[in-house]
């Protein structure tokens, strides 16, 4: 098991490490940068890394959907909102923001270490056998048989959400 760095396995490991780095660095940029446009850029970097992780988990279809929906649609929509609402840079200190930052860091650290401790110490048991290979064909078959009701419902939810967003954004337009 001594793979050199330039073998196929070593390069794949390097790509995996860079995906982890993109995810972590992107998430840190998304929560720490003062300007919201940079936060959205960090978010899209983070989602690109997550899409790479999905690819390593044998799900290229979900990875593609992650890029399409999150990086291509959600991040662009957030950037539209940032441009429409003209938020200021968050540089005003505000009352007790030092205490708030400390509290947030402590609680988020506790959450992280708690979840990490639970997930690393639990003895996860793999299923004795897989009933299919999880390919795109199987995903499509499941969507149209076992999960067809949820599939239809989510399309209704998306339609209602889009109409609701149009109504909300339209009402009160003359106030500007």
């Amino acid at each position: 098991m001594n793979h050199t760095l330039l073998s196929a396995e070593g390069l794949s490991g390097l790509v995996f490490l860079s995906m982890i780095a993109a995810t972590v660095v992107g998430a840190l940029i998304a929560i720490h940068s003062k300007r919201l446009v940079r936060a959205v850029a960090g978010l899209s970097l983070c989602f690109t890394g997550v899409a790479g992780l999905y690819y390593f988990l044998n799900s290229p279809f979900v990875a593609l959907m992650e890029m399409l929906i999150y990086v291509g649609a959600v991040c662009v929509t957030i950037i539209f909102a940032v441009m429409l609402a003209e938020p200021r840079a968050e540089n005003k200190p505000g009352k007790g923001s030092g205490m708030g930052a400390l509290f947030g860091t402590i609680v988020a650290g506790l959450v992280f270490f708690g979840v990490a401790a639970v997930s690393t110490t639990t003895n996860w048991k793999a299923a004795p056998a897989k009933i299919n290979d999880g390919s795109v064909t199987e995903v499509g078959l499941s969507l149209l048989t076992s999960y067809s009701m949820v599939f239809e419902l989510i399309s209704v939810v998306l339609l209602v959400a889009i109409i609701g967003a149009l109504v909300l954004a339209h009402s009160g337009r003359e106030k500007v």
Partner: protein, 107 residues
């Protein structure tokens, strides 16, 4: 060693936990509503990473986690659309999207 990293459940679970904690921190810390929305997306993607990891390593039917993740993406897209239009409406009324400035309901 690096190859083993991508074939271990714990790697993905730790990344999922990190994304969740980062999103939680952002939700507590951010003043602007768009920042909170971005942090919420991080929480959702942490949950998705966990689901996909369990789906790949443990689940007997490896399509279930993928379908769940696709549904989470659909819900997140709907949530982003609604939340952003609410943010635009709030900006029209208050000329600000900082959460501490929206104090009409403070009593």
């Amino acid at each position: 060693m690096m190859l083993a990293l991508s074939s271990q459940l714990n790697t993905y679970l730790l990344i999922g936990a990190f994304l969740f904690a980062a999103g939680f921190y952002g939700l507590v810390q951010r003043r602007s509503l768009i920042g909170m929305l971005i942090a919420g997306e991080l929480v959702l993607s942490g949950a998705s990473v966990n689901l996909m990891a369990f789906n790949h390593f443990l689940a007997p039917d490896p399509t279930v986690g993928q379908i769940f993740t696709l549904f989470i993406m659909g819900i997140a897209a709907a949530e982003a659309a609604i939340a952003l239009s609410i943010i635009i409406a709030v900006y029209r009324n208050y000329k600000s999207i900082d959460a501490p400035d929206l104090h009409d309901l403070q009593g």
